[in-house]
C-alpha cells in the first residue's frame, strides 16, 4: 500500500511511478469535496428543472405526451444514477464540481481507474446521499421519534465516515479502492532570482556566517513572503533577519530589495551545499 505519510504533512501520500519517482500526491480536504458535491447537486437539480420544463412544453404540444414522459423518466434515472459515473469515467476522472475544485478520483493502488471502480464508488451514493436526502424530506411527515433517531444515526455513519479515517474515504471509496486527490493546475511561477542586476548584488555582500544562520525551511518561508508581496509581512521579516544576522541598514535600502538579495544569496549558498549532499533543514540544523 502506497500510503506512508510523514508526520509533518498528514495530507501527503506516496505515489511511486513505475519509473521510481514518488509524486507525493495530496489528499483532498473534506471541505473541498463537500463544495464539489454541492456544485454537482446544483448542476443535477438545474438540469432536472430544465428537463421538466422541456418535457412540460412538449407535453402541452399534445401528441408527444408519451415521448415527454419517457424523456423525463429516463432523464431523471440517468442523472440520478449515472451523472457521477459518466464524468468520472472520462479523461479527467472528475465531475464538473471536482474539476472546479481541482480534484480527481484516483485508484488507491495508483493503477488506471477502471469503470467498475467508478460504478462501485457511485452506487454507494444511494446509501450515503440519496437515502439521507429522502429521509430528510420525509422526516417532516408522520414518522415517530424513534424512526427519526434511527435514521439520523444511520445517515450519520455514512455521511461522517470521511472524518473518521486517515485517508478520508467515504463508503464508496472504501468499496471501490479509490480516493480523491488534489490535482490542481499549477502555473509555473517566475524564479525569484531571475534577472537580478549584478550591481544590486554587489551592494549586498553577505558573509558566510550571515548566510549560515538559516536553513531550507526559512528559505521557503522567505520565498512565500516575497511571492505574496505583503508590505507588513516584508517589513517584519526584514527587520527580524537584520537583527538575527547583524546587518546594518544603509540609507537607500528598501525591505523588498534587502529580502530579495538575501534570498538569492541564501539560496545560492544552500544549493551549493546541497550539491555536496548537505541539506541544512532549518536554522537549528548544525550540518
Amino acid at each position: 500500500m502506497a500510503s506512508l505519510a510523514s508526520p509533518a504533512e498528514p495530507d501527503v501520500r506516496a505515489l511511486v511511478t513505475p519509473e521510481g519517482v514518488d509524486l507525493r500526491v495530496r489528499l483532498a480536504a473534506v471541505s473541498e469535496r463537500g463544495i464539489a458535491l454541492m456544485i454537482d447537486l446544483f448542476i443535477i437539480i438545474g438540469s432536472l428543472l430544465a428537463l421538466t420544463i422541456g418535457a412540460a412544453s412538449l407535453f402541452v404540444g399534445g401528441e408527444s405526451e408519451t415521448v415527454a414522459q419517457i424523456i423525463w423518466l429516463l432523464g431523471f434515472f440517468v442523472l440520478r444514477n449515472f451523472y457521477f459515473t459518466l464524468f468520472e469515467c472520462g479523461r479527467r476522472a472528475a465531475t464538473p464540481g471536482k474539476r472546479l475544485m481541482g480534484l480527481r478520483v484516483v485508484a488507491r493502488d495508483g493503477a488506471a481507474l477502471t469503470t467498475d471502480a467508478v460504478v462501485a464508488r457511485n452506487a454507494m451514493r444511494e446509501l450515503e446521499l440519496y437515502l439521507p436526502l429522502v429521509f430528510l424530506i420525509q422526516s417532516g411527515g408522520e414518522n415517530d421519534g424513534w424512526t427519526i433517531l434511527a435514521g439520523i444515526v444511520w445517515c450519520g455513519i455514512f455521511v461522517l465516515l470521511p472524518f473518521f479515517n486517515r485517508d478520508r474515504l467515504r463508503a464508496g471509496d472504501l468499496i471501490a479502492g479509490t480516493w480523491v486527490l488534489k490535482a490542481p493546475k499549477q502555473t509555473l511561477l517566475p524564479d525569484l532570482t531571475t534577472d537580478r542586476p549584478a550591481i544590486a548584488d554587489a551592494k549586498y555582500a553577505f558573509t558566510a556566517k550571515q548566510l549560515d544562520t538559516y536553513g531550507v525551511k526559512e528559505l521557503q518561508v522567505l520565498e512565500s513572503v516575497l511571492r505574496r508581496e505583503e508590505e507588513t509581512a516584508m517589513v517584519a521579516v526584514a527587520d527580524q533577519i537584520r537583527i538575527k544576522i547583524g546587518w546594518t541598514r544603509s540609507t537607500y535600502e528598501t525591505d523588498k530589495e534587502f529580502l530579495s538579495a538575501y534570498y538569492a544569496a541564501l539560496r545560492r549558498r544552500l544549493e551549493q551545499r546541497l550539491l555536496f549532499g548537505k541539506r541544512k533543514r532549518d536554522k537549528h540544523d548544525a550540518t
Binding site: I70, L74, I175, A183, Q186
Partner: protein, 331 residues
C-alpha cells in the same frame, strides 16, 4: 563568472519541454485525445519521463519551492494520462459484454444461489400464509401495488388483469417507468449489501413475499398457470436481475464480515469492483425486462407464447452466463 544560479540555469534549459507537455495535456484533456497528431501522442510519454527526471533533479538540487510544486503537479497530471485507462468507450463495452460481465456473474455463483433461495423462501412463505389465511395478503402487498388484485376481487377481474392489453399508447411510458423503478431498487439492494448483508437479504425476501402472495390469490381461483405466464414472460429476466443484484450485495457484506486471507479493506474492494460489474449488467437486464413487461406482455396474450418467451430468456441468460470457459479470460 556567470552569476546565474545553477538551479535557474537548469530551469531555463528544461522549461520549454515542460510547457510543451502542459499544452499537449491541456489539449488532450479538453478535447478528445484524437485531436492530437500521432507525433504529439508519442511525444507525451517522452515529455512525461523528462518531466519526471526534471522533478528528481529539482528535488535534489533546487530550493525553489514553486518550481518543485509545479513539477509535481505536472508530473502527476501526465502520469494519470500516460498510465490511465486507454480504452475507448466502444472497446470498454465490447470487453464488458464479451468477458467481464459473464465472468463476474460466474464468480458470484455461491451468492447467486443464496440470493435465489432467499427470494424463493419469501415466495413460498407468503404463498403458504396467504393460502391458509387471506388476511395475510395486505401485509405483503400494498394496496397501491395490488390495485384491486386482492383476495376479495372477482375471478373475472383477476383474469382481466392478466389478459388486458392495456392502453397501447401508454406502453412506452409504462415500460420506462418499470425499468427505472426496478433498476433503482436493484441498485439500492446492491448498495445495502455494505451493511453486512442483512438489508439486502430482507429486501430479497420481501420481494419474494409480494410475488408469493399474489400467486396465492390467483392460484386460489384456478388462474395459477395463467398468472405464471403473465409473470414469467418478463419475470425470468427481472427476477434473475434482482437475484444477481442481491448476490452482488451479499458478496460485499460477506467479504467485509469474513475477509478470509485478505485485509478487510482489500476484500471489500475486490467484492465492490466485482459487484459493480454485475450491477452494470443488471441495469441492462432490467432494461430488457422493462421492454418485455411493458410491450411484449401487453401485446402477447397467448399463454403458450408467453411461456415460450419465458423459456427462451431462461435458456438465453443461462447460456450466456454459465456456458463453458471462454478463451482468453484472464485468471
Amino acid at each position: 563568472m556567470d552569476q546565474t544560479l545553477r538551479s535557474l540555469r537548469f530551469r531555463k534549459e528544461r522549461e520549454e519541454s515542460w510547457r510543451r507537455l502542459e499544452t499537449l495535456l491541456d489539449r488532450a484533456e479538453r478535447h478528445a485525445p484524437k485531436s492530437l497528431t500521432d507525433d504529439e501522442m508519442l511525444a507525451i510519454p517522452q515529455l512525461y519521463r523528462s518531466a519526471l527526471s526534471s522533478l528528481s533533479v529539482a528535488r535534489a538540487t533546487s530550493l525553489d519551492q514553486a518550481l518543485i510544486d509545479y513539477l509535481e503537479a505536472l508530473s502527476a497530471r501526465a502520469y494519470f494520462f500516460v498510465y490511465g485507462a486507454r480504452a475507448t468507450l466502444l472497446e470498454r463495452l465490447q470487453s464488458f459484454f464479451a468477458r467481464d460481465w459473464p465472468h463476474a456473474v460466474k464468480q458470484l455463483w455461491r451468492e447467486t444461489i443464496v440470493s435465489a433461495l432467499l427470494l424463493f423462501a419469501g415466495t413460498l412463505m407468503a404463498f403458504l400464509l396467504v393460502s391458509a389465511d387471506p388476511d395475510w395478503y395486505a401485509s405483503f402487498v400494498s394496496a397501491e401495488m395490488a390495485s384491486g388484485r386482492d383476495p376479495n376481487a372477482t375471478t373475472e377481474f383477476l383474469r382481466s388483469t392478466i389478459y388486458d392489453d392495456g392502453d397501447a399508447d401508454g406502453l412506452g411510458v409504462f415500460a420506462t417507468s418499470l425499468f427505472t423503478h426496478n433498476a433503482q431498487i436493484a441498485l439500492f439492494a446492491f448498495a445495502l449489501g455494505f451493511a453486512f448483508c442483512a438489508p439486502t437479504a430482507l429486501l430479497l425476501v420481501y420481494n419474494g413475499c409480494s410475488l408469493g402472495a399474489m400467486f396465492a390469490v390467483f392460484a386460489s381461483r384456478g388462474l395459477g398457470v395463467e398468472f405464471a405466464g403473465w409473470i414469467f414472460i418478463h419475470g425470468v429476466t427481472e427476477l434473475l436481475a434482482v437475484i444477481l443484484a442481491g448476490a452482488a450485495g451479499l458478496r460485499i457484506g460477506w467479504s467485509i464480515a469474513f475477509p478470509g486471507g485478505l485485509t478487510r479493506i482489500a476484500a471489500a474492494e475486490r467484492a465492490g469492483r466485482q459487484g459493480a460489474t454485475v450491477m452494470m449488467g443488471v441495469v441492462v437486464m432490467l432494461f430488457i425486462a422493462g421492454l418485455l413487461e411493458g410491450f411484449a406482455r401487453q401485446l402477447i396474450v397467448s399463454d403458450v407464447i408467453r411461456f415460450g418467451v419465458a423459456a427462451a430468456t431462461a435458456v438465453g441468460w443461462s447460456m450466456y452466463f454459465y456456458r463453458g470457459d471462454r478463451s482468453g479470460i484472464a485468471r
